[in-house]
Symmetry: D3
Subunit: 238 residues, 6 copies
């Protein structure tokens, strides 16, 4: 029995509200239940030095959490003077995940920075970030296309992410915070709209897991990603 009463293969209510920023070239507010992340895509036409003149663009991401997104206040990273290892790990993952579906040559000499800022955290902030960032990215690419700044189709596929885990012995989809702290195994899956894997990260928090358990998680993830892909499509065609 899950704390939320959800079925094992049931995701939380997911919503994607587009164009929430007046200034960003792409943006959305994505919610996975009580987890809410503001994603903006900022287009910069000057590339960082190390990329200039290579005939391609770049997509990168930064992640942050408002201090009181969490149950007790977390220290602001700007005050601490550095991003935590966890933050860096997540923003590197978001960037890699998005680049996996982007044709950087077709993008042309632009850089798109995705900022994923967690307003409220209730588990699954990294997967919500990837799912929302894809929508913001898509809008930023449309913005470039409208200005004829791309050199062909930029997006090769869509990308979304979901967490799964072994909670009290059973595989479940889309862990919320209460499940996350207690789960024996926690896995994040980043997958394309076509159902292929971009990234898998599985961690035994309690007991090590076996191949059968991993298989069960992969099946759940496939179902979740397919639902998220539909929601992304709907949001982008709204």
């Amino acid at each position: 029995m899950r704390p939320s009463g959800r079925a094992p293969d049931q995701m939380r209510a997911v919503t994607i509200e587009r164009n929430v920023s007046l200034k960003a070239e792409g943006s959305c507010l994505v919610s996975f239940g009580n987890t809410r992340v503001l994603c903006t895509a900022s287009v910069e036409t000057s590339l960082p030095g190390w990329l200039r003149g290579k005939g391609q663009g770049w997509v990168t991401a930064e992640y942050g959490m408002l201090p009181r997104a969490t149950g007790t206040r977390t220290r602001r990273e700007a005050t601490a003077g550095k991003q935590s290892g966890r933050t860096q790990e997540i923003q590197r993952l978001i960037g890699r995940s998005l680049r996996a579906v982007v044709d950087l040559t077709a993008l042309g000499e632009s850089q798109i920075t995705l900022d994923c800022d967690v307003l409220e955290a209730d588990g699954g902030t990294r997967t919500a970030s990837i799912t929302g960032a894809y929508v913001a990215l898509s809008d930023a690419i449309r913005w470039l296309e409208e200005r004829k700044l791309t050199k062909g189709p930029v997006l090769k596929d869509s990308v979304a992410a979901i967490s799964c885990g072994i909670y009290r012995g059973s595989p479940v989809l889309d862990l919320d915070y209460l499940e996350d702290v207690e789960a024996e195994t926690d896995a994040n899956f980043v997958m394309t709209g076509a159902g292929k894997f971009v990234e898998i990260q599985g961690t035994a928090e309690g007991a090590p897991f076996d191949r059968a358990e991993l298989d069960a998680l992969m099946t759940l993830a496939g179902k979740g990603i397919s639902e998220l892909t539909e929601l992304q499509k709907a949001a982008l065609s709204a």
Copy 2:
């Protein structure tokens, strides 16, 4: 003629939406036109070492801006490794402004941290922050009162803030971004509900100003603060 078509003594539409955070002891989303700031109040019952055992509490504030709150993306301070001088100046101002209406002894041995995070910036982020932070603070104090953790009435008055400036030769109330970049003089007023001054900061951006001009700004500010005070009251009794 103001870019927005407002009258010289007309504020932007101001809204205060309370209880926007599921976790914070007090919170609101305050908007001054297109400027939007998320304010949360976090109660901590363990005081920092230098305050412990003095029989009083503390109120402090931190300020941040999401990277794409601005027209072009601003570097994330957590990545830069430090808060800018501007950020520190603003958060010190917010903290001082709130403490001016708080009886720290009555507060008891608690610390309340106000986080003001700018989601969208269109001028006046520091004055919106103070105005919203007061509302979040009030709710956090109620939370403490309900738990009998205070030692008497904590709030001595309400506090709000507004900017004024000399724009194209005329004194105007509540500068938006377009006015702010062009104003000859820019002044921020922090005032109590009773109409007294907590902080005045006037800066000649172009030509120095004289006492008559300052008087005109003070009159405008008084009008604005009185409207903001009503809005705070309405929000808190909703």
Copy 3:
């Protein structure tokens, strides 16, 4: 009754000793009673990147305090690894105040950096810094003029600064440290030789203040600035 026995509208003894540095293009040691600040102006002919090619120069300031300028030793900021919020706030104020009387286009493509280092602190270090920095700046501009490196008159007016406050219920001019820690209201005024305002910063440390009190402080400030302006003139013509 003031701790120093001064009349309410009486400043401390102010002295400005010019050319105290063998190397700087302008320098002075300014004393407001026991507060002593060493001000140097350094001319650099290479502008920072963001200003180059705009046909104008720049004036900026940095502020520091020797560790034992204070009653108990203060941690050295170079050891702490960063400037405090207070330090940044002060040096930004000094820079803005000086730029208010400088025609940056007439200055030509030079940058002048004012370093204000407090040797002894007894209240009013920021106002002494501005007052002394103006003198050092004037000498640096003469140095540029002698070398025909300016494009017309650079200084539009002189600038000086003074603090005032409500101490034990009465408005007083030029707070020393003992008054500063106890004052209900503390205000700093930066004004031109012509008597106009460049910056006003008034803060209620205890009770909020009203317009009548602010008026009284402005009157005192006007008197103080006029005396400081005479002392600056005398120093610069010595």
Copy 4:
């Protein structure tokens, strides 16, 4: 055809030289072909504050790379002033992997820090680090056991790690640097001696991968881990 001429399921020559440090409570020099990592385990009997009094110990890890472990010199992180995101990600992984086989309560109130310093890097430094760190950790635990400082069997199983990847379309075991830069998919597997998973990290560097490819990698990984487990046993019984 692999650059090294190895068969697809063939690991590089792996050696584990124990007790290479005169001072550490456990240590080894582990080589996976030309990748060489010095692993030391340091026992500290004073726990960090947040763990004290909880009746359990802690195992943590730090990772570093000598500047010229790489083909061109890499900037020293101590000079750069911070550990890179990659470094933090790796050392967090090493720590998690080891803790998965440690009974922290049986460990008693000791902290063991594993330092994995790469002397020479030719791909697979994180997997070599985990494999070697387990050996150093085992010796450190023996050291504690000899002093009767543990409260029962500390190690629940052994742990080792290996990378696999899709290189030019084929699944291969234990990528070296030349393969790593070119691989379409790169996956790291951390597994117990009993063959269960502690951590899986699979990343599509080029094209996304499917479940059949992941299955192939898992099979290779299982073979590799079983060989590494034998080598660890042999080293520890030498």
Copy 5:
């Protein structure tokens, strides 16, 4: 022929002005020609954690240079965010030199921090710092003695420092800046009043030097230290 016209064994005019700080427990302004250093000694009765309860005190030093102490402005270390290697090297030397003549047990549980801040730099700032810091330290120890806070005679001897060098082939005493930049060999000697060595640092800036040259420098240094010792005595008995 030296640029200053001094004889090879002639020091610059050295002056030591005591009690220049109103607040420090000991202070002096020391000048070696145009090199001027403000030295303050601050007594703190709370020891750093690692020294507490050992029945002894500590003497430490910090060194700084005002940005325009030099011919062209040097970046402020507080702005740069760290002390340079040179600064740290010098302040470690000053601390070691002073501790060499202090009986830390007799000092009791106090810490004395010497701040040496260079107001004007013309060569020999570290030797001037040590020479002046000894005088400030002596006064701070008298301050402690007057309050009966010591446990016997604290100072075992006096200590002073001087530089020598091979300039255009000849050994000379007390290098000024013009000599320093050109000297083939530069050596700093820290010696006690009794004529013994506390620290020798000799560096070949150009050609390596031989034992005869080093002997000549040692003889010059002995002469210089003996003059400095007299000046310290005179200052302390004034």
Copy 6:
């Protein structure tokens, strides 16, 4: 009697193993007894900005210590966020020492960085570093010569370093850790193959020392350097 049973003028067993790095242009593992330092020389053909276009190259050094090179674990400097004063002092010394025997103009527009990383520390790490770094440097220069990238003979002489000290009243050569912590005087000598001094650093750790003692240490150092010079020659001709 020395703890190791060595004669007063007897060095520890010194070995220099060349070409221990597969990638560096020069490298060696140098051992002075149990002190072991890995030295690599990295050639970079792009000079730092401040040296470009001056028709000369540069030689610089960095120093580090693995956390468990010491008896108890030392905090990793990359984690601490900065290099200690001691580390900076040592790496500056290594750089200066090597440059003393290098003709920077003959080197051409290349930069050689020496990394000295201490694997095991038992006293004398800085002198071992200099001695080994010279060997790595020599190989890097040969590498440049083979590619015709130099403009004449680069090395003017060899350079090596050794420590001496007064241990229990007697001058001894090459202090190990046990002697180092107890020595009254500790001196490091950097000398050329021709027997001239490049750098002398003598420090009284306990009682100040006199000229006779220093003379004894210089004699010992001369003997040690002459043995080290032979070992360097042998290593380089192997």
